[in-house]
């Protein structure tokens, strides 16, 4: 099928996008833009994690909860136990994934709105626990002075030094997600989302499929949360709240849920938008909300679906195109 072939035009587009991202520090030699780029890379990891869960047909409103857990795990391991931060990040991912696997095994039998509610509660509980266990987590004050990430003894303390690391992590996550979607397991995830009963009747353990997707997605959130904490060198219960979960979901919906391009577009549009709207003073939130409503109204499948929609319109206008499968 055409989908599995790599289009040279698309390959060129990807190359240009990656090159632009890599060259950002030179194209925009400004601390603020580089900071925004780093935040964008981290957001992309969160949104891809959420996209993987949504690919299997579930909506996690507790995504930030896993980021918070990951952030605290890595911060505490590097501050109290003296672990190298990079190892802490890895541990953060594993802990978040383990919690997701356990929680998912129990709650993913719940359908639709119930899973959303339980996942939401998980996010809230994570915040409350971080506030309450103040002798470990520092309570509402959080943990100050989390050590920076260091690679081969080179500490990533400055913004320009951190950006390439964040970009590499984001691209690795993107590549992983892309491969996952094309794998036999990714196919089963998509089938489960589209018709769970039929997929179950085709011999797929759909519960296990959703648990694995939830585990992978939440594990990515844990890793990204930990990286974020080492970037800011600070974590508090406010670092990852319900509003972060909502903002990841918004990026996913605005960008599009179908492929890996949607999260990229959602992050590219919505990471800088609040900053650009800052000049409008009080209107910022109203305009942001307006953009969301317009997106949901006119491109419900996300911004990434626009080229396909235009293509479909053109194809509909030209009847008699041979079916791709008639070979």
């Amino acid at each position: 099928m055409t989908r599995t072939k790599i289009n040279p035009l698309r390959l060129g587009g990807i190359a240009i996008a990656v090159l632009a991202a890599v060259l950002l520090p030179w194209l925009a030699p400004n601390q603020f833009y580089i900071h925004l780029g780093t935040i964008g890379c981290l957001n992309l990891m969160f949104v891809l994690g959420l996209a993987i869960i949504s690919r299997a047909g579930q909506l996690s409103m507790g995504h930030a909860g896993f980021a918070l857990v990951g952030g605290y795990v890595s911060a505490l391991l590097s501050m109290r136990a003296g672990w190298p931060p990079l190892l802490g990040v890895l541990a953060a991912g594993l802990v978040a994934a383990a919690i997701a696997a356990l929680l998912g095994w129990i709650i993913l039998r719940l359908r639709g709105v119930y899973f959303v509610l339980v996942a939401f509660s998980f996010g809230q509980i994570a915040v409350l626990l971080a506030l309450d266990m103040s002798d470990i987590t520092g309570g509402a004050n959080g943990l100050v002075g989390v050590p920076p990430l260091s690679i081969f003894g080179y500490a990533l303390t400055s913004k320009p030094a951190f950006y390439p690391f964040a970009l590499a992590c984001a691209i690795a996550t993107l590549l992983f997600t892309w491969l996952l979607y094309r794998s036999p397991f990714g196919d089963r995830m998509a089938a489960t989302a589209e018709n769970q009963r039929l997929t179950e009747s085709s011999g797929v353990d759909t519960h296990l499929t959703q648990v694995i997707a939830f585990t992978i997605g939440s594990g990515i959130a844990g890793v990204a949360g930990a990286i974020t904490v080492h970037y800011f060198q600070f974590i508090s219960p406010d670092s990852f709240t319900f509003w972060e979960s909502v903002s990841y979901l918004t990026m996913l919906v605005v960008g599009g849920r179908a492929g890996v391009l949607g999260p990229v577009i959602g992050v590219l549009v919505l990471t800088p938008l609040p900053e650009m709207l800052r000049a409008t003073q009080g209107l910022q939130h109203i305009i942001y909300g307006g953009v969301l409503v317009l997106c949901l109204l006119f491109v419900p499948d996300g911004l990434s679906s626009i080229p396909r929609r235009l293509g479909a319109r053109r194809a509909a206008a030209m009847p008699g195109i041979p079916l791709p499968a008639e070979r």
């Binding site: 589209e194 011999g203 791709p324 008639e326």
Partner: protein, 251 residues
């Protein structure tokens, strides 16, 4: 091949199926009939693992499968179709059939890096099945764009793509016009002949059942009231009574 014995299923206080026992032999085309609410679909759901039995057992190929989750039963070679046109509406027809091959497909982690390989293998099987159902020319379009009759055929094709040994069909001709129903019946007979698939048919449509099945099991009010060849069933006063009422049986 399939032994159902003493099957009982209770919903709350309602006994939907009580003490149903029958057997499906290799090569059978068994019809499961009965008036509305007789418990046909419940029997079907219990056998295919969608529901757990309240009592009794289901044995398939000599092994007890009662209470196993549906996906494991399918992987043992017992597939089913659904009453409504159940498919993946937004996927292409070929993709729908590819997803039917999950039951027999094996994959490893490495297959994630070679998407063309597993896909080509699955598509080869899927194409073959689509061809049997006269759907290969429609392979590239979305399932939702198919005509209703084609959607029903695709539903059966998805189940067959998993290469089952026993295929259970839940009212496959419901909602089809007589020509479409006859066409689907012919396809089913051909599939049976070519692939040696044993079939169980739950059906309202008497003509289809009488024409296709070699043996028939009749349910009424959750109990089995008759079993036999089509000729025996049409002559059975109990069956006539269940379908047409007491007076008709005496008339």
């Amino acid at each position: 091949m399939l032994q159902v014995s003493g099957l009982k299923r209770v919903f709350g206080g309602l006994v939907a199926v009580r003490d149903v026992s029958f057997e499906v032999r290799q090569g059978d085309f068994l019809g499961l009939i009965g008036p509305n609410g007789a418990g046909k679909t419940t029997v079907f759901n219990v056998v295919s693992g969608v529901l757990r039995p309240s009592a009794g057992s289901v044995r398939f190929l000599g092994q007890d499968i009662s209470g196993l989750p549906a996906n494991r039963i399918v992987r043992r070679g017992l597939s089913r179709t659904f009453q409504a046109a159940t498919l993946y509406p937004d996927a292409t027809v070929i993709e729908n059939a590819v997803r039917g091959t999950y039951a027999t497909a094996r994959f490893g982690l490495l297959d994630g890096l070679r998407p063309t390989k597993w896909r080509a293998e699955a598509e080869a099987i899927a194409f073959n099945v689509l061809d049997m159902f006269g759907l290969s020319r429609r392979a590239g379009i979305k399932a939702r764009e198919l005509a209703y009759g084609e959607q029903r055929r695709l539903g059966v094709a998805i189940a067959l793509a998993g290469q089952p040994k026993l295929l259970m069909l839940d009212e496959p001709v419901a909602g089809l016009n007589p020509e479409e129903a006859a066409e689907l019946g012919r396809v089913l007979q051909r599939v049976k002949a070519e692939r040696g698939v044993t079939m169980v048919l739950v059906e309202h449509h008497m003509r289809t059942v009488m024409g296709l099945c070699n043996r028939i099991v009749v349910l009424d009010h959750g109990t089995m009231i008759a079993e036999g060849t089509p000729a025996e069933i049409v002559a059975n006063p109990g069956v006539i009574e269940a379908y047409l009422g007491k007076d008709a049986a005496h008339a």
